[in-house]
Symmetry: C2
Subunit: 337 residues, 2 copies
DNA sequence: ATGAAAGCGCTAACAT
DNA sequence: ATGTTAGCGCTTTCAT
């Protein structure tokens, strides 16, 4: 038998110190009102004395559930997701639940590994923005007893909860705005086509073009970024500007991408919006203060997270209806387009 | 006996399905080479068949340690910390270790609660940017077997590891720059005085004033923000501008605060740097692309996190020397000052 | 090479 | 009101 690596004082030591049984100590912890106040006093003092910290692993093993939920987002470097995480955390805290925040960073291998690890940890539930559209692993997870809530992407099945923002409409808002400004050569710096949000916004853009009777193939160039961050966007625009014909407007899948676009254009001395218009998405905190205040789409980000956590808790408490909440985005017109 | 809330298949079911004992299944998991390859094959198939997921709680309980480390930062909304978290995560991943990321948000009650919760979870180690200077709870934690590494703040004791950036020097760099530009009325929007970095940077500013033979009380106004975010900063500046005499330069404890300052000044139509100069700290991704490109202090943020995780792992593996790594900051002069 | 069984620290049913 | 004890799922020693 290997010695425990971290020998701490447990309820046994507390019991000995207080002259009671482990059952009583356990009751002080979990059913204080079953214990005579005098005894309770004594036990609590013993706990302080030996520096007792409950072994949560044993606790949860016994109970069969933990008070830790997990959130997996696409990128922790995107303020959109940290804002949503704040909402999640706040709601979970109300239920004395902690949050494990993970970031998949578009690595589906990593997503799978983390998913497994979280399941092994026995998380109480999972809030996830999937990096692809295979819901099967998530459904399996839920069948094994771990409630799943999709974040920022509507559930394709009635078995999963979801909270999302209407991305088709969001894409449509942006494209309609650009078209109304007379733009006919639009570059859409989109994310990976495996990600729902990206596909949906693209659909919205197409819809806007159609509404004007315009042929997408003539007026729209869509590029899928790989990392979907500012550096990635900068490189992509750099490349596009090497082409003979420039777009008159660039719409970005999020504000971080727009940041990279602005950086590239600034370095090349290209004026926004005069030479090229730029539109972001998310309305993160810095959007309004960029060199050219960013026209973008505001999402109820905090509420998105907060609601997702609420659904998760309801589900973990045995709710059987799987809600699909859809929130509405809003175009914020500033100077960049 | 209450039924387990989440009945999953365990090694017992796998053993039954494969026609072996639980010990053998365990060996397939942990000592595959002790098992005859034919048996191993059979067991592995049984695992897939029943959809086996190892119960990490029981695993860790038995082993006495987990493969999850935790990081507690001051604010998850600050890109500085998410960048550091990326460094931490990357280094931990090399050791097959997961990260729990927590944010204290200046709430010391919350910090204490989360600390306890993490200890109960049996985290393998803790990387923390403390919101105050009481190291006693951290030392106690370490004595109880959980290695602690201070992030972005030098350890005041030889018993704790730390990785930090020279904040006194950083503050000095900024102030020296401002003084050399002729500024004699400097507003320092600092964070809470309980936080080491804030105190250290303030010391650096004082040092710079002294080097010029200037009296701090005449040339420096230092304000402690409470939330230390952009909205908080905006409010503070709004208030300062109500005073009869305005500062000629505002230095900020980080770039997020600078963002709020720029927002306030823009709303009031005050020109940067002509009317008031502004300096940030951290050089986060958006710093260079703000309405006025931000003069700021660059820190080796990713490396900060990466190194902290390396120290943590070394410590958890039994290293007994407690290193104090100090990195160097660098002034990045742009347009805002 | 495999099996049997003890025990990690805790909770809760049952006994007193 | 308190004590006793089985067992959560796993690992590991010891025996076969």
């Amino acid at each position: 038998m290997s010695r425990p690596v971290r020998p701490r004082y447990g309820i046994r030591e507390v019991a000995a110190a207080a002259g009671v049984s482990v059952g009583t100590v356990s009751n002080v912890l979990n059913n204080p009102d079953l214990v005579a106040s005098e005894t309770r006093e004594r036990v609590e003092q013993a706990m302080r004395q030996v520096g007792f910290v409950r072994n949560g692993l044993a606790h949860q093993l016994r109970l069969g559930r933990s008070n830790t939920a997990a959130a997996m987002v696409l990128s922790i470097g995107n303020p959109f997701f940290t804002e949503a995480a704040r909402g999640i955390e706040d709601r979970l805290a109300q239920a004395d639940c902690m949050l494990i925040l993970c970031s998949t960073d578009k690595d589906s291998g990593r997503e799978a590994r983390q998913l497994r690890s979280l399941e092994e940890q026995g998380v109480r539930g999972l809030i996830i923005t999937p990096g692809h559209m295979q819901t099967e692993p998530l459904l399996a997870l839920q069948r094994r007893g771990i409630p799943v809530v999709l974040l920022d992407c509507p559930s394709p099945t009635p078995e999963l909860c979801s909270v999302s923002v209407d991305d088709v409409h969001g894409g449509e808002l942006v494209a309609t705005h650009l078209l109304s400004q007379g733009h006919r050569q639009i570059l859409f710096l989109n994310g990976c086509r495996e990600v729902y949000q990206c596909v949906a916004r693209s659909r919205g853009v197409h819809r806007a073009l159609q509404a004007e009777g315009l042929e997408p193939s003539r007026h729209l160039l869509e590029v899928s970024l790989t990392d979907v961050d500012d550096d990635d966007a900068e490189r992509a625009v750099e490349q596009i500007l090497g082409l003979p014909e420039w777009p008159t407007a660039i719409m970005c899948v999020n504000d971080v991408v727009a940041l990279g676009v602005l950086r590239c254009l600034r370095k090349r001395g290209i004026k926004v919006p005069d030479d090229i218009a730029v539109v972001g998405y998310d309305d993160v905190s810095f959007a309004a203060e960029l060199s050219t205040p960013l026209t973008t789409v505001r999402q109820p980000t905090y509420q998105l997270g907060y609601t997702a956590a609420a659904l998760l808790l309801a589900d973990a408490d045995g709710a059987t209806d799987h809600q699909r909440v859809v929130l509405q985005p809003e175009l914020v017109v500033r100077d960049s387009a």
